[in-house]
């Protein structure tokens, strides 16, 4: 009885916070757009029968007719994937250095990684506008040291989006990799060297495989939220970057076309389910290996 209760808690959580909202969004995605409040029809008030007969997949078909949508999806996947690779390239060395740092420093270093979360995400992204804009700190600095004569255009380009995403999500990459590297027994590296590996070979053949789970976890923790990212591309990417999060926002608030926006969201979720399931598998496998 107690057991059943305990098991039911996460399911209840999933039901209330995920399945119910999803069902609502899904229902809206099957409705029609109208000029009313709420801006879709049919609603619950019209009764179950009306509801069932009037719902259709029109909005989903609409998404296939305008190539804006699939281009936005594709562009989002590409941007999220590239940002994930960049975040890994930045995060891995940081995590490695942290794991190698003297024991008494590690807590402080960890603190430094988490510290940015103490300020609002929005403010931190805004701050990047001040850094990256044509008259921003970065250009002024590069001018100052005489490295450039023309200001660099970074703001409102995909580069700014990559910078923003890497900056925002790098802690999510560092933490799982650090956790994996910190547990790594130093004598394994010595054993590898003892058996004839150079430092680099030992890193490649032992350190990387043994931090694989951390790498995978970090990549998913970056890729999944980056795919639906809205704030960073709209603040830093300007009109030149197309991301599905921005499209979703515009459908919802500018066009007030809730049904189409919901359809966009449903498709986004379906795209995300694949990496989420893969991520879960990885976590499960690691949990099993730990036993």
């Amino acid at each position: 009885m107690r057991r059943a209760l305990l098991i039911s808690v996460p399911y209840f959580w999933l039901l209330v916070l995920f399945l119910v909202p999803f069902a609502m969004v899904f229902k809206i995605s099957l409705s029609d757009s109208v000029l009313a409040i709420p801006p879709y029809a049919p609603t619950m008030k019209e009764g179950i029968w009306a509801l069932l007969t009037q719902l259709d997949f029109e909005n989903f078909t609409f998404l296939t007719t305008d190539d804006l949508y699939w281009k936005a999806y594709l562009s989002s996947v590409r941007i999220a994937a590239i940002s994930t690779v960049l975040t890994l390239a930045v995060g891995y060395p940081v995590a490695y250095a942290m794991a190698r740092a003297p024991e008494e420093w590690r807590a402080t270093l960890m603190m430094l990684v988490i510290l940015p979360f103490w300020t609002s995400f929005l403010i931190r992204v805004y701050a990047w506008i001040g850094i990256l804009s044509t008259e921003g700190f970065l250009n002024q600095f590069l001018f100052g040291i005489g490295l450039i004569s023309e200001p660099l255009t970074i703001l409102n380009t995909p580069t700014a989006v990559y910078i923003g995403i890497v900056y925002t999500y790098v802690p999510f990459m560092i933490l799982p990799i650090y956790a994996a590297l910190e547990r790594l027994d130093g004598s394994l590296i010595e054993a590898a060297e003892d058996l004839g590996c150079s430092r680099l070979q030992a890193f490649w053949l032992v350190t990387i495989p043994l931090s694989k789970n951390g790498i995978i976890a970090g990549c998913f923790l970056v890729f999944i939220p980056a795919l639906g990212e809205f704030v960073i591309p709209s603040l830093l990417g300007g009109s030149s970057t197309l991301m599905i999060g921005k499209v979703l926002f515009e459908e919802f608030f500018s066009n007030r076309d809730w049904p189409v926006a919901s359809a966009v969201a449903v498709i986004l979720l379906l795209i995300l389910i694949v990496p989420i399931i893969l991520f879960q598998r990885n976590e499960q496998k690691q949990a099993e290996a730990d036993q």
């Binding site: 394994l188 003892d194 150079s198």
Partner: protein
């Protein structure tokens, strides 16, 4: 025909495989190895024995290449190995923690070092199979380290470190994690493998019984120094100091002053009523303070006064029953206790002595060793 005894250390024409020449290792201010000089010969099974923290692992790590001596030189096969990285030394180490690669199967763990040598696939496979057979691990080749028992893991570590046929194999407390029975079996297995492969083994242990069982020679260490290096028998029968006598096995130490008494004979005034007679090749001057070390099994315990060089009366204070042996703690009138050990050839109910019995303990003049420190 008598077999030739393996004793290259007694042969001045033999060149040692490993030489430590006045090696000192410091970590900051801390002296881990203190001006140590030592020769180890080919095909030896050399044991480093000492309490925890005395520098045994540090010596191994210097041989493997993970640490460099602060002063002095270590040479392997005549060549100074300072600065040669671990992957360029014909030395392999079996780690105290085994350090098996958790992401690789038993097979791949053993093949790991071989693959680094650019051997052909077939050559690697042949050698791995050979090692699996030697360590009786064929059945577990496809398992991961976490899927096998502690004893099997230890054999994988051994197979992996032997696979490259190193000139020198370092074993850092290889059997520490095993229970007693398995440890004994493995000790014999190790000796067997050492004999078959002809590899030179240096083993670290803090278990004196283990060192005595497996080693051709034992070095007893303390605080970064080697106190004595000798064969197990010589270390046991002729320790050169109270420290070694005390560290290896059980011992009675009678402290007093020496008085020459005939050729290589001394009388020791140890405050036990009568003077003890002891033979010693090492000279002592009249009145020099000394310690007489006698193993409990060399002391007899009898009801009546025996005909012996040394005999004192006391009463049984305590009896430690060890199954095959019993140790009697005999209290002398002076308050000192002497341990005497006898084999339990009879059942315990027929035991000759019991608590509070008056008894005589006796030993011969050559039973003990006279030590000056």
């Amino acid at each position: 025909m008598a077999e030739t005894v393996f004793a290259p250390w007694d042969d001045p024409n033999e060149t040692p495989l490993i030489t430590f020449q006045n090696v000192t290792k410091r970590f900051g201010d801390f002296v881990a190895i203190d001006d140590l000089t030592l020769d180890i010969f080919e095909r030896e099974f050399f044991a480093l024995l000492g309490p925890s923290g005395c520098g045994k692992t540090t010596m191994m790590r210097m041989l493997a290449g993970f640490e460099n001596p602060t002063e002095g030189a270590i040479s392997l096969a005549g060549k100074d190995i300072a600065g040669v990285p671990p992957n360029k030394r014909a030395v392999n180490m079996m780690f105290q923690s085994y350090a098996l690669f958790p992401h690789l199967t038993v097979w791949d763990n053993i093949a790991f070092g071989l693959k680094r040598d650019n051997l052909s696939k077939d050559a690697v496979a042949t050698r791995v199979e050979e090692m699996l057979k030697l360590t009786r691990l064929q059945k577990f080749a496809r398992r991961k380290p976490h899927q096998i028992s502690g004893g099997q893991r230890q054999r994988v570590a051994l197979a992996r470190s032997l696979a490259k046929a190193p000139k020198l194999l370092l074993l850092d407390e290889p059997l520490g994690a095993l229970d007693k029975k398995l440890r004994q079996d493995t000790q014999f297995e190790l000796m067997d493998i050492q004999e078959k492969t002809g590899t030179t083994f240096v083993i670290v242990t803090h278990d004196q019984e283990e060192a005595m069982t497996v080693a051709s020679r034992v070095a007893v260490m303390d605080e970064g120094r080697i106190i004595q290096v000798a064969t197990p028998e010589r270390i046991y029968e002729g320790p050169n100091s109270v420290y070694v006598a005390d560290f290896i096995g059980d011992v009675n130490i009678l402290s007093g002053t020496a008085k020459p008494f005939g050729r290589e004979m001394y009388q020791v005034d140890w405050g036990g009523g009568t003077l003890a007679t002891a033979a010693s090749a090492k000279p002592f001057s009249d009145g020099q303070s000394c310690h007489l070390a006698i193993r409990p099994e060399k002391i007899s315990i009898t009801a009546d006064r025996p005909e012996a060089d040394n005999a004192v009366q006391g009463k049984v204070l305590d009896i430690a029953y060890l199954g095959n042996l019993s140790t009697y703690y005999v209290e002398l009138p002076t308050g000192q206790t002497i341990k005497a050990q006898t084999a339990n050839t009879r059942r315990i109910s027929r035991r000759t002595f019991t608590w509070e019995d008056p008894v005589w303990v006796s030993w011969t003049a050559t039973a003990g060793v006279l030590l000056d420190s």
